[in-house]
Amino acid sequence: MSDLFDTIVFLVQQMWFFSIPLLIVALGGMFSERSGVVNIALEGIMVVGAFCSILFINLMQDSMSGQGLLLLAMLVAMGSGVLFSLLHAYASINLRSNQTISGTALNMFAPAFAIYTARVIQTNSVQQVEFTNTFRIPSVPLLGDIPILGPLFFQRTYITTFIGIAILIIATFVLYKTRFGLRLRACGEHPQAADSMGVNVFKIRYAGVLLSGALAGLGGLVFVVPTSTNFNATVAGYGFLALAVLIFGQWKPLRILVAALFFGLMKTVASAYSGISFLQGLPIPSDIYKMIPYLATLIVLAFTSKRSQAPRASGVPYDRGGR
């Protein structure tokens, strides 16, 4: 019995590392798409956010460490994400260009920029940015001692996990309970109608894209910190997976959470099956395990997408004269 419980604890603790970055980035994508701007640049923004913040940690870690450094790095990640997403916002809102074009350009620019900058400023032109992980929390005081829940949620964790959950709660509140959220959703469904009621569609869409930039940049850092000790100009396709989680979650915060947890759990099983005794015995090769998260997502989607509908005006540049 305790063996089974240990397995579950292990799975859940690992799951957060996969699910939380997906959740944060997908919520970012949600703000952008609900405002009417498709953001396929999430991957590129993650790379830029992770690069700037990991570089910040790399430069500052001699004088600082622990949660303070991580919190400052998160601000750096969000700030760099916002700046980078401005490019996408300008092209898709002011210039009304095809939103795939600037998104693709940003995705292409980000890793090249990260490698180029790292090699220029680091000695021996190394492209990996190293950092020392001083951020893990062995056990949250008091909460970590709660039986059952303690090990699942409050042991061997990172502060980023709780920030991710906090972002989810705030995002849900903002989207459904504030004036800004209502306006944002209106701009993504029928911007002309919103405009006729005096909503500034340009401003709202800028807010949507910049929020997605902040969250995607943060997601980049949150992805790298628990899973690696250096940043090598890639987030392993997590930006695109977050896009998938966003669609899987049908552009709604709580469904996005479910999708991110589902995908994260599948991903954990796929990467950690050899440590789980009852899975280890099964005659399934590792390649098939690795396939499971993607296959399972596709199958679930097949049953749940019949009435799925993207925000109606998402991807369509705003034209005042349109109907």
């Binding site: 396929i40 490019l87 092209a91 210039l95 009304r96 260009s97 095809n98 795939t100 074009i101 600037s102 693709t104 350009a105 940003l106 995705n107 292409m108 620019f109 890793p111 090249a112 920029f113 490698i115 180029y116 090699r119 220029v120 032109s125 396709g237 695109f240 997976l241 896009l243 998938a244 669609i247 899987f248 090769p285 390649d287 098939i288 690795k290 396939m291 998260p293 993607y294 296959l295 997502t297 596709l298 989607l301 097949a302 997408s305 019949k306 009435r307 799925s308 993207a310």
Partner: protein, 392 residues
């Protein structure tokens, strides 16, 4: 209008279509120059020359290598561009490419009873079929189950990646020592004399040949075929109509589900052909490595398609351009610059092509307005009320 101007009109239309891309390229290069200046100002001018002369720096061999590297880019560009034209975003070219490559190599290694001169043709067709099947999956999901094609494509990329790794490991085409697929020199695409043109003559009389092969001609041929299908056939028209407006197409009697599935199949076949053309290249062509990385050509295809404005003929040129400037980045290392600068330049070009398109639209709108005004003025002239001509 006198006769004989039709040709010039067409030429004018083409140049107006190309102009935004040229402006974007100029701005992108200027942006690259600024980065060269920032990182090492003393060699920046030489660096810019090196980028601009691209593959030509390597002489005829370099030029041939541009054609070699352009081949898969044109194919994945066609795949993504064709899907764009029919209103779909094929972000799954990586998986389709890999499926095609696996199928092609498998047949090449096992179907040795096929006469050798024909073998590469069979392998390439198999690769296209495998790509088409893999592309059909997101098509079916989108057409029948309303699953967004972007998410289905992303999932199929990874399923294809791990599936191909599994199939390679469990088939006789696995080279265990090198952790990659076996060589298949007997199924190589012929060079069709291209190596006779694209090589550097060494002093000793040795021919330093480029890697170019018949694949580039096949890619160009397929591009022309796609242009014809899209612009000159009812089938292509139906696919495009579905892309513009699904509901209107259904109302017009087009089976829109079938169209979506066919579009994704064709896009998949084109990406599968890219896989075939990469791995059936002659003289120890590359092998599929058993890794966990998605084929990067699938994503470059998006850039190529966007630069070529999704027009199959435009994609030939944008594929050649991307390969050309990437070769420039290869030679740029001689000046101690990092080759990543080329990706930055290409990204800048794509970004600014959005601006350039906007300028073009503004010009077109202004032109329409002016000609409309002219017509009004002509009408006014007919009414014998002359207006000031100098004002225009």
């Amino acid at each position: 209008m006198s006769k004989g101007t039709g040709f010039f009109k067409a030429l004018g239309r083409v140049s107006l279509g190309v102009l935004p891309s040229l402006i974007a390229i100029a701005i992108g290069l200027a942006f690259g120059f600024v980065i060269l200046l920032i990182s090492d100002s003393s060699r920046a001018v030489d660096g810019l020359k090196m980028i601009a002369s691209g593959g030509f720096t390597g002489g005829m061999k370099g030029t041939g290598n541009v054609l070699y590297f352009a081949t898969p880019l044109i194919m994945t560009g066609l795949s993504v561009g064709f899907a764009f034209k029919t209103g779909l975003f094929n972000i799954g070219a990586s998986g389709q490419l890999l499926m095609g490559a696996f199928a092609g190599i498998y047949v090449a290694h096992n179907a040795t009873w096929i006469p050798q001169p024909m073998l590469w043709v069979v392998c390439l067709l198999t690769a296209m079929c495998a790509g088409a099947l893999w592309g059909m999956i997101p098509g079916l999901f989108k057409g029948l189950l309303n699953v967004h094609e972007v998410i289905a494509c992303i999932m199929c990329n990874y399923i294809g990646l791990y599936g191909v790794n599994y199939m390679i490991r469990n088939s006789n085409i696995y080279d265990r020592l090198k952790n990659q697929t076996v060589n298949i020199p007997h199924a190589a695409i012929p060079r069709w004399g291209l190596d006779e043109i694209f090589h550097n003559e060494m002093a000793s009389g040795f021919k330093d040949a480029s890697s170019v092969n018949g694949g580039i001609l096949i890619a160009i041929l397929l591009a022309v075929v796609m242009y014809f299908v899209l612009n000159r056939t009812t089938f292509g028209y139906e696919l495009k109509a579905c892309g513009h407006n699904r509901d209107a197409s259904r109302y017009a009697g087009i089976n829109e589900k079938r169209s979506i599935i066919f579009s994704m199949m064709i896009a998949g076949a084109l990406a599968g052909a890219a896989g075939g053309l990469i791995f059936l290249a002659p003289s120890n062509g590359p092998s599929i490595r058993v890794e966990e990385i998605l084929a990067p050509q699938g994503f470059s295809g998006i850039s190529v398609a966007l630069l070529g404005l999704s027009n199959p003929i435009g994609i030939i040129f944008s594929g050649l351009f991307v390969a050309y400037i990437s070769q420039g980045g290869f030679f740029l290392q001689r000046l101690n610059y990092m080759p990543e600068i080329i990706d930055i330049i290409i990204a800048a070009i794509i970004y600014f092509s959005a601006f350039a398109l906007l300028v073009q639209n503004l010009i077109a709108t202004a032109g329409r307005k002016r000609s409309a005004r002219r017509e009004r003025e002509d009408d006014a002239d007919d009414a014998a009320v002359p207006e000031e001509e100098a004002s225009t």
